[in-house]
Subunit: 396 residues, 2 copies
C-alpha cells in the first residue's frame, strides 16, 4: 500500500475509533448512536437466535444471502421505496451498509476512474474510491440554514462530462441532516441517466425523517431504472448495528458484480445474522413514530443549546440523527476543541474534516444525537460552555 | 471491473455456490462441511446471545475487534502456536478467515506486485491477488501418495528473486489434506526471511490433524518473527461458520494496515458475533479428540471406497476434512462428471480447477468429508459407481 494511501486510510480518528481519555460516568460518545438509549427493534434477536438453532441451513447461504431473507427484504424495500425489487437478482445482503458501499464501488470502479461525490458526505464515500485508485470529484452540497438544500449541478455536469462513472450521495445526508428536495434528485437522476452513469444513494437513515418532510426515493424517479443502486439497512433507526447486515438493491448486473466482490472479501454476510432482516419493517404499530418523536425531542433540545452561542451555525436536521455544527471564531482550532472536549469533558464528537475538504466542513464537527436525552443535554451544555470560553474576544 | 476479471471472479461454480438440481433426500453437499452433522462447539451460542443482551457495549467495537475478545484469542493462539501474541497490536478479529485472507493481501499488495502461491491451494489465494491487480506465481506442491509432501523450492526461490512480496499457503493444505513437514516449513521461512517478504499461512484446519502427525506452526520457527501472518478461526473444526469470525495474528504494522482495510470494506466483524471466539479453545475435555476421531472414521471409509476404483489417485488426508480425488481416464471430463453427480445423483463436489491450473489439479475434484457418516458413505458409493461406469474401456 503506498504511504499516502496509508495516511488516507488512518483509522485512529474515524468515528468510533477515537482513543478516549480517562473513563467518566458522564461520558457521551456522539461519534455513533447509543443502542442502549435506543434499543434494537423488536424481533431481530429472536429471529437470529432461531437461525442459530436451525443450524446448518442457516449457517451457509449463497454469497448474496439467504433467498428467504432476500424475499422478505425485497418486498418491504419495494413497498418502502415505491419501485419493484426482484428478490432473485436485484438485491444482495451485505456486511452492513459500509459493506454495501464498498461492494458497489469496488464492482464499478477501476484505478483512474472518476467518481462524483457530494461534499460534505460520509467519509467513506471519499475513502473507498481513493483506496480503489479512483479519483473523487467533489460536488458541493449547499446546506445553508433556512433554505432548501441544493447541489452544485454545474460541478456535477463537469464531473460527468469528464467521464465520472458513478455518483455517490447519502440521503438523508450524513453529516448535515439534509433531506434532498425532489427537484434536486430529479436533476441528478436526469444527468446520471443521460451520461449512462450509476447513481449510488446511501439511504441508511431514510426511515428517520422529521417534521413530516417529504422524502423522495431516487430509485423510483423516472430515468432511474437500471441506473440506481440504493443502500439500506437496519443499523441506525432500528439500532441493529451489532448484527452487521444491510442490503443493496439495484440493476441485476451490478448486484451480480457485487456478489463476486463479496465472494472475495468475506464470502457472505454472517449466515445467522442475516435473519435480523426478517424483523426489519415488521416493527409494531407506532414503534417508528415513537422513535422519530424521541429523536426530534433530543434534536430540538440540542439545537436550542447550540443556538444560544452567538455566531454558531447549525442546520435543523431534516432526516437522520446528526447535527453538523460550525462554531464561531475561537481561540483554538476545531480540531483542538474536539480533542479537549474528548479528553477533558467527556464529550466525543467527530471532526468535520472526516467529511470533506471545504473550509465550512473542516471548521465543523458532527454529533450523532441518537443518545440518552438527559445525558446528551448535559454533555452539550459542557460543550457549549467550552466553546463559549474560547470565543475570540472572551477570556479562555 | 475489466471483463477478464469478471470472468475470473465468477462465483457460480465456487464451493457452496453451485446451482443444485432437484432437491433429493439423499443429497450430500461435499462442497462445504455439514454443521448439522458436526454441530457447533459448545458455548459459542451462549456467548453470542449474552453479547446481544449486553447491548451497546457489544454492538460496536474498535475495527480490530473487542479488546476482551482479542485478549482471550491472543492468549489461546499463543499457547496453541507456541509463540507470543500481543492482544493490543498483533491480532485482529476478521469477518471469517476469508476476510482475514483478503485483508492481509489487500494490506500488502499493490497492482503489479508478485505473490508466490502454493498450488493446488484454496481458490481465493489466487483470486484475491488477481482481484488486486497482483501477479500470482505458482509454487507446485507435490502431494504424491505415499511420500512426504514437498514444495518446489526452486520455483519459490525464483518467485522471491523476481520480487514476490508475499508467500501464501494453507497448512493443512486445502484441497489435498497435506500437513507440511517441518523441513519444508523451515525452508520456506528461511527464504521468506532472507528476502524480507511476508509469509501468510492459512491454518484454518490446524486443530484437525490425524494419526498423531506432528504439526509445526510456521510462526514459531526461527526467522518467522515479524515475517509471518497466521490466519485462524473456528469456522471448520468447531463448526462456527455461521458467525463469520476469524482472526489474523502477525506483526503489529501489518495488523494495523489490515485494520485500515477492514475500516474500508465493512468496518468490523459483527459486534455481537465476535463473542463466539470466547468459546474457542474452551471446549470440554475430550471434545476435540472425539471430533478428530469421528472425522478420521469418515475419511477412512471414503478412502476405502475410492481406492476400490482401479487407477484412481487419492492421498490420505493428514489434516483438515478434504479429500482430493483424481479419477482414472474416463469417457467424460471431470467437469462433466461433477455436473452429472450433482444434477443426477445428489452428490455435490468441487471441481479441481478451482484450486490451480496443473493438469493433476484440473483433473481432480474435492470433497469436504465433514458430513453425516452414513449419508456420506452412501453418496460416495453412488459417485464411485458413476466413475466406474465411465471408465475408459467400460460400458457407460
Amino acid at each position: 500500500m503506498p504511504a499516502e494511501l496509508g495516511s488516507l486510510l488512518d483509522v485512529s480518528a474515524a468515528p468510533g475509533q477515537e482513543r478516549l481519555g480517562r473513563s467518566r460516568d458522564d461520558l457521551v460518545d456522539f461519534s455513533h448512536g447509543d443502542v442502549d438509549a435506543f434499543p434494537p427493534a423488536p424481533g431481530a434477536r429472536e429471529a437470529v437466535v432461531a437461525a442459530i438453532e436451525r443450524g446448518g441451513s442457516a449457517a451457509y447461504s449463497p454469497y448474496r444471502g439467504h433467498l428467504a431473507v432476500r424475499e422478505h427484504a425485497a418486498r418491504r424495500v419495494a413497498e418502502f421505496t415505491g419501485a419493484p425489487v426482484d428478490a432473485e437478482t436485484e438485491i444482495i445482503v451485505t456486511p452492513g451498509s459500509q459493506g454495501a458501499l464498498f461492494l458497489v464501488l469496488a464492482a464499478s470502479l477501476v484505478p483512474g476512474d472518476r467518481v462524483a461525490i457530494a461534499e460534505p458526505d460520509y467519509f467513506a464515500n471519499r475513502r473507498i474510491p481513493l483506496s480503489l485508485g479512483a479519483v473523487p470529484m467533489p460536488v458541493a452540497l449547499d446546506c445553508t440554514e433556512g433554505q432548501d438544500a441544493s447541489l452544485d449541478l454545474e460541478a456535477l455536469d463537469a464531473a460527468l462530462a469528464a467521464g465520472a462513472k458513478v455518483v455517490v450521495l447519502s440521503n438523508p445526508n450524513n453529516p448535515t441532516g439534509v433531506v434532498y428536495p425532489e427537484a434536486v434528485l430529479r436533476a441528478v437522476v436526469d444527468r446520471v441517466s443521460g451520461a449512462r452513469a450509476l447513481l449510488v444513494v446511501d439511504q441508511l437513515y431514510s426511515r428517520l425523517v422529521f417534521d413530516d418532510r417529504e422524502y423522495v426515493h431516487a430509485r423510483a424517479l423516472p430515468g432511474a431504472e437500471g441506473r440506481c443502486v440504493t443502500l439500506l439497512g437496519p443499523s441506525k433507526t432500528e439500532s441493529l448495528s451489532g448484527y452487521r447486515v444491510g442490503v443493496a438493491v439495484g440493476p441485476a448486473e451490478v448486484i451480480a458484480r457485487m456478489e463476486q466482490r463479496l465472494g472475495i472479501v468475506s464470502l457472505r454476510a454472517a449466515g445467522y445474522a442475516q435473519s435480523a432482516l426478517d424483523a426489519w419493517f415488521e416493527e409494531p404499530d407506532g414503534w417508528l413514530e415513537e422513535r422519530i418523536a424521541a429523536h426530534r425531542d433530543i434534536r430540538d433540545g440540542l439545537l436550542e443549546r447550540f443556538r444560544a452561542v452567538p455566531g454558531l451555525h447549525v442546520r435543523t436536521t431534516e432526516g437522520g440523527s446528526y447535527l453538523f455544527v460550525r462554531p464561531p471564531a475561537m481561540s483554538v482550532s476545531v480540531g483542538e476543541l474536539v480533542r479537549i472536549a474528548r479528553e477533558e469533558h467527556g464529550v466525543v464528537v467527530t471532526r468535520g474534516e472526516e467529511f470533506g475538504t471545504a473550509t465550512s466542513t473542516v471548521e465543523s464537527f458532527r454529533l450523532n444525537f441518537s443518545q440518552d436525552r438527559d445525558r446528551a443535554f448535559a454533555a452539550v451544555d459542557r460543550l457549549v460552555a467550552l466553546i463559549s470560553a474560547h470565543l475570540v474576544g472572551m477570556r479562555a
